[in-house]
């Protein structure tokens, strides 16, 4: 009876540990997705600034799919169309557009910080559960040795 209870407890701890590890993995994927996003936003700012420096009238190549490009001319660099979410994009003056993208970067980094904090907490939980599993395993092992000793003395 006690044996079954022990096994159940062990299975329960292992299940909890597996669940926490899965949560950590999910957070890790989300954090790397946010890192890619921040890097993409920073690249966008650099590209916009470069285009602004080059000025209107400059010839550029417009990608058509991933294999072809067609020539185009920069007509206006003082205005940028920025996606504000929910399929809506808005034309903004250059500096305002840059500020909007920077604001997005700050928001993404804030979210990243929160996820990282949650991950640290989950790592602590992993440590705690691992410790419990180790202790439980040891208790089980000594219990089994005790049982075997008792059985041995009964035979004698």
């Amino acid at each position: 009876m006690a044996m079954k209870k022990d096994e159940k407890r062990m299975a329960d701890l292992t299940r909890q540990l597996r669940s926490v590890i899965n949560q950590i993995e999910t957070l890790r994927v989300e954090i790397s997705r946010l890192d890619v996003l921040v890097s993409e936003y920073r690249n966008t700012i650099t590209t916009l600034r470069n285009l602004k420096d080059l000025g209107a009238g400059k010839e550029v190549l417009l990608p058509v799919g991933s294999i072809a490009q067609i020539k185009a001319k920069l007509e206006e660099v003082d205005k940028v169309v920025v996606n504000i979410g929910s399929d809506i994009s808005v034309e903004l003056p250059f500096e305002e557009a840059i500020k909007q993208i920077e604001k997005e970067i700050v928001a993404v980094l804030t979210l990243r910080d929160a996820l990282e904090k949650a991950m640290v907490e989950l790592y602590a939980r992993v440590e705690e559960l691992s410790q419990k599993i180790r202790e439980h395993g040891q208790a089980e092992a000594t219990g089994e040795i005790k049982d075997e000793k008792e059985k041995g003395s009964e035979k004698k």
Partner: protein, 66 residues
């Protein structure tokens, strides 16, 4: 699922607030598939509202029940 819907609603609210505070004369575009179509502020607000209504309505059951 619930969290995703809430995040979507938050994003919509941010877009809505942004549009409401946008000075007049700024061009606004709405994405229909691959196409970006120029819309007025009123149209954009209406499209956002419609999107919200579509999301808040319960999912329709697939297949007919006799």
């Amino acid at each position: 699922m619930k969290r995703k819907r809430e995040a979507k609603r938050n994003k919509r609210q941010i877009a809505l607030d942004f549009l409401k505070n946008l000075p007049s004369g700024r061009k606004i575009y709405y994405r229909f598939g691959n196409l970006m179509v120029e819309v007025t502020k009123e149209e954009a607000l209406q499209l956002l509202k419609e999107g919200e209504e579509q999301n808040s309505s319960p999912p329709q059951k697939q297949g007919g029940e006799s």
